[in-house]
Amino acid sequence: MTTTAPSRQAPPAGPAQHGTPPVVPRWRRRLRPYLLSVPAVAIIIGILYPFFLGVYYAFLNYSAVNPNPVLVGFDNFRSVLSDPEFWTSVRVTATYAFVATGLETVLGIGIALLLNRSSIVGRIFEKVLILPLMIAPVIAAVIWKLMFNPQFGVLNHVLGLGSTFDWLSRDRALWSTILVDLWIYTPFVAILVLAGLRSLPKEPFEASEVDGAGWFYMFRRLMLPMMWPYILVAVIFRLMDCLKIFDIVYVLTAGGPGDATRTLQVGAFEDSITNLNYSRGSTYMFLLWILVFAVARYLVSVLGKAQRRAAGAEG
C-alpha cells in the first residue's frame, strides 16, 4: 500500500492485547448446541407428560362404566385391531391425508411459482393468499357446511345444481371434506414454498439462463432440488395434521354417512368423548400416533437427504 494504510499504524490497544484471553474449554464448546436446546427439551418433557398418561390409558380398561381400571396389557389393541371399523378408519384417514396433502402440495407449489412471477395480478393476490387461513377451521367448516346445503346453500345455487345435489352424500362426503381442507390449507403450503422460493440465490438461475436452459429444466434441475427442504417441511406438517384430521370432518359429517368419513381421530372422539371409553379412545389415538410417527419418521429422513442434496445443488 503506497499510502499509509491504517493497518500499518501501531496497533491500538484492544482487549485482545491485554493479558491472557479467557479460555473456553473444549467440553464447554461441545456443549453449546445442547445448552441452546435445553429450554426446548424442558418444554418437550413438560408437555409430553400428559401424552404419556394418555398412552398409559391404552393399557387399562378405563371407562366411565369402569372407573376403577386395571392394567389389561394389550387387550385394547387386540380388540381395536380386530375391529373392521378401525381398518375402515385407517383407510379413510390414509385416503384423506394422502389425497389432501398431495393436492395441497402440488397446488401450493403451483400457486407459489405463479405468484413468484410477480405479475400485477400476482402482487394483488399475494396479499389475500393467506386469508382462508385466518378463518379458524371449525368456523370455516361451518361456513362450508352452510354453502354445501342443498336446500339453501349458495354452491348449488351458483353452480346450478338444484336442490337435489348432496355434497355430503356417502359417495361424495370424503371428497367434499378434502375440498374444504384444500381451501383452508393450500395457502399454508403456498406461503412456505413462496418464502423458500424468495430465499433462493439467484446466481444459479442467471447462470443457467445464460446457458439457454428452458423454464422446465431450471424448475426441475435447479429450483426443485433447492426447494425440497421447504416443500418437505410443508408436506410433513400437512400430512401429520391430515392424519389427525378431526375438526373439519366432525363439523361437516361427524364421520358419516355411515363410516364414510370416520377418520381415526373421529373414531377416537367417539370412543373417548361420546362413549366415555377412555382406554379404547386412547388405544385409537396411540395407534394413530404410531401411524403419524412412522410417516413423519420417513418424511424427516427424506427431508434430511433433500437438505444434503440441496446443499450440494447450491454449494
Binding site: 426446548a40 409430553l48 400428559p50 405479475s119 368456523i139 361451518v142 354453502m147 412456505l192
Partner: protein, 288 residues
C-alpha cells in the same frame, strides 16, 4: 425479486396471461367463501338462510357481536376474548421464538449427537392427537391453577407453535452460510452478538413466516381453549362458535360477523409482516 425464472420477455404474452388466468381461477375459489361470509355477516336473522345475493345489508351484526347482547348470547365478552386471544397467541409465539430460535439455530448450525432426535421430538409434539392429551391436561391444569389462565394457554399452545417455529426456522439456518457469523466473530463480536447482528436479520423472513403461521395456528386452535378455559382466558375461536348457539336458534350471521372480526388481528399481523415475508433470505450475496 430474487428469482425471476421466466427466461426473457418473449413468453410474457401468452404464458403470462395463462398463468394469471390460473391464479385468477384459484383466487375465485379461495375468496368466494370469504366473500360469502362477508355477505352473511351483513344479513339479518331472517335473511341469513333465505337470500343469496339480494338482501338489505346491515352492519348491526358487528355491533351485536361486540355488545352486551353478544355477551348474553355467548357468556363471553367478545372484546375480552379478542384481548385474551392476542395475549395467549402472542405470548405463545413469543415463548416459542425465544426458546425455539436457539434450538433451531443449534440444529441448523451444528450436527451434534442427538440433534436429529431432538428435532424429531419437537415435531412429535404434533403427533399426539389433541384429544389424547386434553383430559390429563385438564386435570393437571385444575390442580396447578393454570386452568382458564393466559399462562396456561401459552403453555399448552406450545404444542401448536413450537414445532412450526423450530422446523421452519431450521431450514433457514441451515441455508445461512456459517462464514457470515465467523466473519463477525473475527470482527471481534461474541457469538451472541454475531448471532444477533448477522444471523438473525438474515433469517427474518423465516422468523416472520414462522411467527405468522404459528400465530394463526394458535389463533385458530379450538380444542385446547374449549376445554382448558372458561370465560377468563377464552379465545376468539371458542367465542365465535358460541354464536352458533343451540335450542333451534343458530345465528350464522352473527357467527360470520364474529369470525370476520376475529380474523382481524391475524390479518393485521400478516399485513405488517408481509414485507418481511417477501424479502428474500439472501440479500443477494449470501453465497458466492
Amino acid at each position: 425479486m430474487a428469482t425471476e425464472i421466466k427466461p426473457g420477455r418473449k413468453r410474457l404474452t401468452l404464458g403470462s396471461v395463462g398463468a394469471d388466468l390460473l391464479l385468477v381461477f384459484w383466487f375465485v375459489f379461495s375468496l368466494f367463501p370469504i366473500a360469502w361470509m362477508v355477505l352473511l355477516a351483513l344479513k339479518t336473522d331472517t335473511e341469513q338462510t333465505t337470500t343469496y345475493f339480494a338482501f338489505s345489508p346491515t352492519f348491526d351484526n358487528f355491533g351485536t357481536v361486540m355488545s352486551q347482547r353478544g355477551t348474553d348470547l355467548t357468556s363471553v365478552d367478545f372484546a375480552g376474548a379478542l384481548v385474551s386471544s392476542v395475549l395467549n397467541c402472542g405470548g405463545a409465539v413469543l415463548v416459542s421464538l425465544l426458546i425455539g430460535i436457539p434450538a433451531a439455530y443449534a440444529a441448523g448450525r451444528w450436527k451434534y449427537r442427538g440433534s436429529e432426535d431432538l428435532m424429531f421430538q419437537m415435531l412429535s409434539f404434533r403427533f399426539a392427537p389433541e384429544l389424547m392429551v386434553v383430559v390429563p391436561l385438564f386435570v393437571i391444569y385444575n390442580q396447578t391453577g393454570l386452568f382458564d389462565t393466559t399462562y396456561g394457554m401459552i403453555w399448552v399452545l406450545q404444542l401448536v407453535t413450537m414445532p412450526l417455529v423450530v422446523w421452519i426456522l431450521r431450514s433457514y439456518f441451515q441455508d445461512l452460510s456459517a462464514e457470515l457469523e465467523q466473519a463477525a466473530l473475527l470482527d471481534g463480536y461474541t457469538r451472541r452478538r454475531a448471532f444477533v447482528m448477522v444471523a438473525l436479520p438474515l433469517v427474518r423472513p423465516g422468523i416472520a413466516a414462522a411467527a405468522l403461521l404459528a400465530f394463526i395456528f394458535a389463533w385458530n386452535n379450538y380444542v385446547f381453549p374449549l376445554i382448558l378455559t372458561d370465560s377468563n382466558a377464552t379465545t376468539v375461536t371458542v367465542a365465535v362458535t358460541k354464536f352458533l348457539g343451540g335450542g333451534g336458534q343458530a345465528y350464522y350471521n352473527l357467527t360470520a360477523a364474529a369470525a370476520l372480526i376475529g380474523a382481524l388481528p391475524p390479518l393485521l399481523l400478516a399485513l405488517t409482516i408481509q414485507r418481511y415475508l417477501v424479502r428474500g433470505l439472501s440479500f443477494g450475496a449470501v453465497k458466492a
